[in-house]
């Protein structure tokens, strides 16, 4: 079976000016492995939440993660790896506490990086998720 691609969209709806039009999607399901687009303060209707508030952005990102995983047939408990990018060390504690609340009891592997920036300047946090649906549930 070809990979399933969920919530396809065109980049002209996201990035400035709308001049560049390419296709992207939010979720790719390859067999029982789920790959998500890096999640940020943008909600799934493309409205930006939490300008200047890294914790609020992280909360929105994790709400997106739950919706995206569920519509691909997975659940939070299937998350295996989370990579958290923040743009300032000061955001670590508020962001991680919010993410930790969403992940309570899941126990994923994690890697945390402080980076120079993300796709748009207002993004202060981005979360990359890889999830695997256990073979006998796929």
């Amino acid at each position: 079976m070809a990979h399933q691609r969920f919530r396809k969209f065109n980049t002209s709806s996201v990035y400035d000016g709308g001049r560049i039009a390419n296709d992207m999607c939010m979720t790719v399901r390859a067999g029982n492995i789920i790959f998500l687009r890096g999640q940020t303060g943008f909600d799934l209707d493309n409205k930006f939440v939490g300008k200047g508030d890294a914790a609020a952005q992280a909360d929105q990102a994790m709400k997106n993660v739950r919706v995206l995983l569920e519509e691909a047939g997975a659940k939070m408990a299937d998350i295996c790896k989370i990579t958290t990018y923040i743009t300032d060390r000061a955001y670590r504690e508020p962001v991680y506490n919010v993410v930790g609340r969403h992940l309570k009891g899941v126990f994923p592997c994690g890697t945390g990086l402080i980076v120079n920036g993300l796709a748009l300047p207002e993004m202060l946090v981005e979360i990359d998720i890889e999830a695997v649906i256990p073979a006998d549930e796929a």
Binding site: R5, M24, G38, D78, Y85, R101, F107, I114, A135
Partner: protein
């Protein structure tokens, strides 16, 4: 059956951090093994080694990290030989050679694919280096590793670097295909002028398509791309080149602006993850 989650922890128990975050050092699935980024801290978080912010300290941290990784993989029934891909994150270019030499010594003969990124920092200021790995246990059938090379014979941008690592361009591990982070260099390092970020990204994607083809796969099998750029100004042209190359095969993209890549000559790099789709 749920995945095995080994060495569970909560960050609040580590180094006095006020963070309530449940994690595991290793998650073992039926095929893949996931690992929390390893660094110079002891596995029981009793101390961090090499905290002096010198190149020597970075090498000490890398040594600790690789030893920890060996332990973690052994506990999960795997070994360093099963590593498919490494992502090496350092916080200063000065750490690159000592860190890679340490990795190269531990992974002699393994030939993983590799992506190297310079970031601003990690969980705590004393951490100079973090290593992420993608692991698929081989269970009797060795992974296929295409276009093996030794780092010292390769070019990074226009430079040669004595980093002492056995790498390759493609690892095929069961259904999963891992590619080396692709940059504006041709696969034979022959390019005389790398051009701007858009030109580099276009070359990187030509490499990706060729390498996937050699692995018996194609662009349709790409699941996820992480695009690294060294400046916000490089992001839009690089993104446009990457996505144009994919055409109507939308993937899940993440875009990260980083402090640096393997060489100052490089403006962008793409990390491409692919899974062989069934016909």
């Amino acid at each position: 059956m749920p995945h095995d989650r080994l060495r569970k922890f909560n960050i609040r128990d580590w180094f006095g951090q006020g963070i309530d975050w449940d994690g595991a050092m290793v998650v073992r699935c039926a095929e893949e093994i996931y690992v929390t980024g390893v660094n110079g801290s002891e596995l029981d978080a009793s101390r961090t080694h090499g905290t002096g912010h010198t190149a020597e300290d970075a090498a000490i941290q890398a040594e600790v990290a690789l030893n920890n990784l060996k332990i973690l993989l052994a506990e999960a029934g795997a070994s360093l030989d099963d590593i498919c891909k490494i992502n090496v994150y350092i916080s200063d270019r000065a750490y690159r050679i000592p860190v890679y030499r340490t990795i190269g010594r531990h992974l002699r003969g393994v030939h993983p694919v590799s992506t190297g990124v310079i970031v601003n920092g990690f969980a705590r200021p004393e951490i100079l280096f973090t290593l992420d790995v993608c692991v698929v246990p081989q269970r009797g059938t060795p992974h296929t590793r295409l276009r093996r090379y030794h780092s010292d014979d390769a070019k990074y941008g226009f430079e040669r670097q004595k980093i002492g690592c056995d790498f390759c361009q493609v690892v095929i591990a069961g259904r999963r295909i891992y590619l080396r982070g692709q940059m504006g260099q041709t696969l034979d390092d022959s390019l005389a002028d790398m051009g701007d970020a858009g030109t580099q990204a276009a070359q990187a994607m030509r490499n990706v398509e060729m390498l996937l083809g050699e692995a018996g796969a194609g662009l349709r099998d790409i699941t996820k791309i992480i695009l690294y750029a060294t400046d916000r100004a490089h992001l839009a042209p690089a993104r446009a080149a990457v996505l144009s190359h994919l055409g109507e095969l939308p993937c899940a993209l993440s875009e990260i602006i980083v402090k640096g890549l393997a060489s100052p000559d490089l403006s962008m790099e793409v990390d491409v993850f692919a899974v062989q789709s069934q016909e």
